[in-house]
Amino acid sequence: MAAPRKSAGRPSPRLIFGDLWDFDPAPESADPKLKARYDLFIGGRFVRPRSGRTFDSINPGNERKLAEIALAGPADVNAAYAAAAKAFRPWAALPGRERGKYLFRIARLLQDRAREFAVAETLDGGKPIRESRDFDVPMAAAHFFYHAGWADKLEYVVPGASVSPLGVVGQVIPWNFPLLMLAWKLAPALAMGNCVVLKPAETTSITALKLAEILVDAGLPPGVVNFVTGAGETGAAVMGHPGAAKVAFTGSTAVGKAIMRQLAGTDRRMTMELGGKAANIVFDDAPIDQAVEGIVDGIFFNQGHVCCAGSRLLVQEGVADLVISKLRNRIRVLRVGDPMDKNTDLGAINSREQLATIRRLVAAGVREGASMYQPPCVLPEKGYYYPPTLFTGVTQSHRIAREEIFGPVLSILTFRTVDEAIEKANNTPYGLSAGVWTDKGSRILRMSTELKAGVVWANTFNRFDPSSPFGGYKESGFGREGGRQGLLDYASTA
């Protein structure tokens, strides 16, 4: 299909996406069963923080306070590591099939309470209920199920060698997929026989602490998993603690680098899953409507708060106008607003700070001369919201093409040849993911070899599976999560 023809004398046809059939609000009504105050989870019990301090968790959808969360100080982190160290030997000594039983139990209990967890996740983080219901919670359960299956097969993970757990691992996770990132990190560590001290992100602690209830219900031995909540200082204490045999971090590249500096010279093992600026590459022979859908999934999923988001669209020049015009029509029907509404496609930005970051980078894009398109949409008055945004006329030297925005903002660049696409895609310090859209199989194979990215999706984007390892190249980090590779990152092999 060529780009729309403009014939003289006739106004160019337009699609009307108006209010002829407005949807009534369809709020999810399940009770998230939140407590007014959440304590730390150490040694199998909820305990008041020795620091005596707390902080508020805010619902980014309406800026109201959801709960008070304990702030863990150094003494609390010490207590968590001590509990984990005490639990380690008996836990590691359990036969794998016994550990597997606990994991199966956790997965099933999470499925039982899926709706409640989905609502809690949406209230706490701002993501649309559709996503927490259909993606975050089921996928978190899937990770527990998958690793439960590994627990009794560990002697076969590495043919000819035996594997053993590392000890106590410290884990710090981000706010974009609070429950899912927790499952990604907990499940393999536990299946292998490690004990865990984990710190959720300060804006999204609630589902971790709700999961602690499930751990208690599942009868998990005390101290095997400990949750300490708080902000950056707590995180630094978890990462820097001498009791950790390994640390695993998912978050920004800047913080990842700081952790690596802190731990340089120690024998601490590390897994780092950091930022990204993924290229989503559309060739002129691609199925265009499905590519447009993949672009939308790639950048607007979870408001663009996705480390592997396809935030740089590279389109071959011959189809650039067509792709952009289709993309504009597509984002006109995205529904932005109350995350609890079942019809919402884009929910709330996770925090005031993140909203400010997005605004700052968008302003930089405008200032540097890229042209911006935002569809008309009415944002709620209260809460942190940002409309879906396209930038065209972006070049490699624009800030919006280089820096991770972590919001619903797509930078569109063009290319002419395969080599140019590869060169532009790889011209970034990051290398977490990439997408390739083409009908030509041989080109997919070539691109997947030459793109320096941990995941390359072909004719799709943002698809995940517990059995598929996920992780980065270059400044997007190292180590893998998921699959056999992810499991081995929590083991020593002899």
Partner: protein, 312 residues
């Protein structure tokens, strides 16, 4: 000069209209099924779906008596005046005059299948004569089938010429072109056939998924491929073609999902029975049942609704 083989014809047309990725289409339409339509929006959707229904009976055992009962139901689906009449009754050519006798002069149109429905395997002159016969008996709309054999053999010009001949035979009656998607098998083919048909249709004519006589009929996915073709054709030429999914749409919930697809793909201008129809028989009573549920808060037993076509 590139080769003119039938195979090359498929390649050339695909190059022109673009390809479709099956997995991607199915992911797209899965999102429509997660939309939650409540209260006023639901009532509007149900009424609109009623007004878009081509109430259909296409059986060997159809009689004037059966057609009369269908037409009465079409004119007044429910006692409640808030419920509109359906768009049309869809019958075999021999039944057109019986239908016309009842719905003639009302808003309800008479649609007739023709062109050796459902296979289309008759001489063109026979098919055209059938169309002319239906039109002279009073059919406001004609539902034709394309020559799938010719399409699969790559004889696109023949497919196109035959549709053009039927357009001519229709006179002022509207035409709906049935692609019979289950016999085209791939989404690429559905997209190609849509463009071949639209190329010779007039504004206000329709393309239609199926006859309802094969195993696979209208699905959200093949509906999506066709409405995206209609959208692309409209943006390219300014000519607005209508769409009619037919067969397999049995529940109100399904029909609302199809309407959501229309709303989010073609926009408000297609949310009218001038541009969108459902070819269905048992759908109507489920729409009415849901409508009564919204009005009264309780589901009525099926036997509270008069039965125009297939029973529960």
């Amino acid at each position: 000069m590139p080769p003119r083989s039938p195979q090359a014809a498929h390649a050339r047309l695909l190059d022109e209209v673009g390809s479709v990725d099956q997995v991607g289409v199915e992911q797209r339409v899965a999102k429509f099924t997660t939309r939650s339509i409540k209260k006023e929006a639901k009532v509007w959707g149900l009424k609109t779906a009623v007004s878009m229904t081509d109430l259909t009976t296409l059986e060997g055992k159809d009689t004037p008596g059966k057609i009369e009962s269908l037409c009465m139901k079409a004119l007044r689906p429910l006692e409640d005046p808030a419920v509109p009449p359906v768009a049309a009754v869809c019958v075999y050519p021999s039944m057109v005059r019986h239908a016309k006798a009842i719905v003639g002069g009302s808003k309800v149109k008479v649609a007739s299948v023709a062109t050796a429905f459902p296979s289309g395997q008759a001489h063109l002159r026979t098919r055209l004569a059938e169309v002319r016969g239906a039109v002279s008996d009073g059919a406001d709309e004609v539902d034709m089938v394309i020559n799938r054999g010719a399409f699969l053999a790559g004889e696109f010009a023949r497919v196109e010429d035959e549709i053009a001949a039927v357009v001519e035979a229709c006179g002022s009656s509207a035409l709906k072109v049935i692609l019979e998607v289950s016999e085209l098998e791939t989404f690429d083919n559905i997209r190609k056939a849509s463009f071949i048909a639209m190329g010779v249709l007039r504004p206000g004519d329709f393309i239609k998924t199926s006859t309802g006589k094969t195993t696979l009929n209208a699905t959200l996915a093949n509906n999506q491929v066709m409405i995206e073709a209609i959208r692309d054709f409209y943006l390219d030429t300014g000519i607005a073609i209508g769409m009619k999914p037919a067969g397999g749409i049995k529940t109100a919930k399904q029909s609302l999902q199809f309407l959501i697809a229309v709303k989010e793909t073609l926009g408000d201008a297609w949310l009218t029975n001038k541009r969108y129809r459902f070819g269905a028989s048992s759908l109507l009573n489920d729409l009415l049942r849901q409508f009564e549920k919204e009005r009264t808060g309780a589901y009525q037993a099926p036997y509270y609704f008069s039965d125009a076509a297939e029973s529960y």
